[in-house]
Symmetry: D2
């Protein structure tokens, strides 16, 4: 058990022992390493998850999968079950649900790319887990503890997004709910926090890169960063992705779309294939400068 030698921290050494002993590092250089579909997390390589916000159609997701794989993404991301802030759906802005999962499954087989996708309800966990290689728990469900337990029990790797209003302490506590079920393949994911100023009134989030060194003092779990959701603004994604890599991210999640301006959801944030290709190369250079790599 590492000592709490950090005066004034909101996480105490008692927390490490009593609140999240499984999440806590056992020694200063304790880092979890594990493989998902043959891709290692927590090591020198920094896997990239790329794809659209929403799985819109079979054709589109196949095209995106093909392209993000071509440019080096390790996983295809895409939501079929989506938390939408209002109960009304338009033809364009809608979940594709079971159909969307089936398209992901089709693409996974055809393109040979592993899948990360969000689960939102206990009753769909087992269905989604047949396709998903990583179950993504969204920030709105970060403290839905019975749901965390149910996801953990599938034994599937899980990526736990930090709630935008959550402290590091609460985030690690939520992760402990997963580890306590014997599920060790847990990725944390930072995706922006609420903050007074983000310079765009339609964007409510500020990417908290400081949480990378802060979390790594405490936990052995790998940490993914999602600059697309945090910035909510395409022109900022590139610099914040490079900064995430430099700050120590163990994975990068990016929204990539064939035709960003016409994305069904949040069209201001995805980048296109050309920019994705360019960004992958830039991230690899930055990663190599700190002894890691993207490819």
């Amino acid at each position: 058990m590492i000592e709490n030698k950090f005066p004034g921290k909101d996480i105490t050494s008692d927390d490490l022992k009593d609140k999240f002993p499984l999440v806590a590092k056992k020694s200063p250089d304790h880092k979890s390493k594990f493989s998902i579909c043959g891709i290692e997390f927590g090591g020198d390589k920094i896997p990239v998850f790329a794809g659209p916000n929403m799985v819109e159609s079979k054709e589109l997701i196949e095209d995106i999968a093909l392209n993000v794989k071509k440019y080096g993404a390790s996983f295809l991301r895409g939501g079929a079950f989506k938390p939408l802030s209002f109960p009304y759906r338009s033809k364009k802005y809608n979940e594709t649900r079971e159909e969307g999962i089936n398209w992901l499954n089709y693409v996974k087989d055809k393109i040979k790319i592993p899948i990360i996708t969000e689960v939102m309800e206990e009753k769909y966990i087992s269905f989604i887990a047949e396709t998903a290689d990583i179950l993504q728990i969204g920030s709105r469900n970060m403290q839905n503890y019975p749901f965390l337990t149910a996801c953990a029990k599938t034994g599937k790797p899980i990526m736990l997004k930090r709630h935008y209003g959550s402290s590091l302490r609460d985030w690690l506590g939520a992760a402990e709910y997963i580890l306590v079920e014997g599920n060790k393949n847990v990725l944390l994911c930072e995706r922006g926090v609420v903050a007074p100023h983000t310079h765009r009134s339609t964007s409510r989030f500020l990417l908290d890169l400081q949480v990378l060194p802060a979390a790594k003092e405490i936990t052995h779990l790998p940490i993914v960063v999602d600059p697309s959701h945090a910035t909510f603004w395409r022109p900022w994604v590139s610099s914040m992705s490079l900064a995430s890599v430099a700050a120590g991210a163990d994975g990068i999640m990016l929204e990539v779309h064939k035709d960003p301006d016409n994305a069904a959801v949040d069209p201001l944030q995805p980048i296109d294939y050309f920019d994705f290709n360019k960004l992958m190369k830039s991230m690899d250079l930055v990663a190599k400068s700190i002894g890691r790599s993207i490819f």
Copy 2:
């Protein structure tokens, strides 16, 4: 439909029409009024929900129920199913779950006081709804949309707590998920937001009373305020309760315990019977000064 004559608001007139038409006011003086167990909400009276954070034992909850009723509370509050930030339980700090609900049911019959208690999982909704007169949805579940829908479908009155990182827009969107199911008896509840400075490092929340006039520009739903959770600190509860009443709260939720220092959960925030009695009288005086009343 009221016009959006408020320049610079993050809620537009399109939102009122497309995102939460049922939650939105139809005219400037549109206010919902409804009764729960014969107690009117949205009128001149301001009902008070009082009781412990956790239903600890049959004897204790009976004693608290008796006393909060004696001093004028309309509803007994108390959690049997509780979202605890870490998976480990101590003998003291533990949920009482089914047993706790049964104690609430016993007390409800014996003391004749209606019950508000939190629901956390879909599978317990119908069990809890047999006892609860109002289903409380905690802030951590505010954006668990399938769960909101399931609660709404019981037809039971619902109190929806605002997430501490949530905007007014997202809060109203969550409420729309309940109203769209035909369930009209919805109370909103403000319980503090994350903010840079709250003067106590162990308290992460700042009571947002500004949201009362802000929400009342937009919605016809009654709004409850919970000063105990926001302040997390007993000595501040009284002044913030009076301020909540003066700012236009339509209900007040308070933590009251027989022996606050030995409360199983959050012992810094509940007030004792003596202070509750005093506070009820003070709130009534403030309420009367603005043409309303507590008793």
Copy 3:
């Protein structure tokens, strides 16, 4: 010296002793009382400062002074020297500077109402202090320590606005810079803090009423609240003023204008004479309900 019996506070008992001994309470019921121009602060009466944001013209300030005095304001507020966020001035949106101070002086003599106005630069302190009965230090200057010292040395009563990004600890530290010069007539003024959500993208502030009980645990100084600047929105001023009184404010600062829509600065926030009259009566009723009074 009171003990720090408040676990988890960011202000320690050492701070009370070493950082702001003069600002700190000597005993739990220690409260400063002092009179300015015959008006007592820190007692049961709650003085009101009212007037325009900017002293626009001699005729206008005279008309406003006459009316706010008629409806019960104790002090006329109005800025002649103003911190404007950008260096360019329009004919309408401009400081009136020396001329404005002279108009305040004329109105003070003619209408017999004391004056509170902002000082911004050391070189104008003595000139402004000839007219001002209270020197107002704006939030942007809260940590301009040499300036605080220079203002303190005039011996004039001072109102120190809290910076919108400032902790209670830093605010009290700034006040100590004034008291250490032997100047005891210090009013603190809360005017809103930066916070993630205020529901209006053009308004960056959330009125922090929780700071009233928090500050009163620590300091004996009276605390004024300014709901106009915090809300930046006329329709919210009334409920937040009543809440401020109920929460324990020792003074209220309000923007009042003859013709709010045509105010030279921030036309969304001032109230007119009719609403001011009404609000004064409502505040008095709330004040009486807690054993205090406005009139």
Copy 4:
């Protein structure tokens, strides 16, 4: 004039034209480049300012100057006039004022390293400007407009720190006050903002790297980042410095001390010579990976 094609931003195209026309970019690729003491800002090189928080003694500042120069710092930083949050000084925690400036002047001549140091009061500007090659305006003075004007009139290069509660809009407005005086050599400096969660209760700031791409959409001015003050915690300085470089910082300001644990001010944040040397090399590698360099 670039168009405001960014929907939902709090900065409008009118702001670019009317509020800060000199600070605003004239075209998308407009970037200011200027030299200070032969060191170019705004180009591919990223100058580093390093040194202690406080100029403590002649011997110490000389030793630090020698070492930071040796490892590649372009400027020596160090405060002689310091904004201290409380009026009391201890023997250790004290300003060295005129004496400190004289030591900086001695070191500047002897070690041949240019100086950046903070100015806090108008009356000392000309004295400090004889030694300082860049006048640093601290965050607490960011909106002390008369002071900005006075500093600008010296013609000296100025670094304007962002206030921790300030929006990008207010920061750029403050910079316009300097440019409007004809002083074009302005550096902006990000040093952390107030935010709900920073994981260390003694550290109130979150480094806002998102402001780098946000500001660069709007302004042609170079932007320095100060990770030491933002993190307030030595172990996080390295990763946040690398992230700052990757995110596009045009300069890095670092606290470096001979004996960090015994620094007179904020001993938790400075790094020692060994770590500085290592960090400079790492930053250079990251800089080179994006086509820039430290050395």
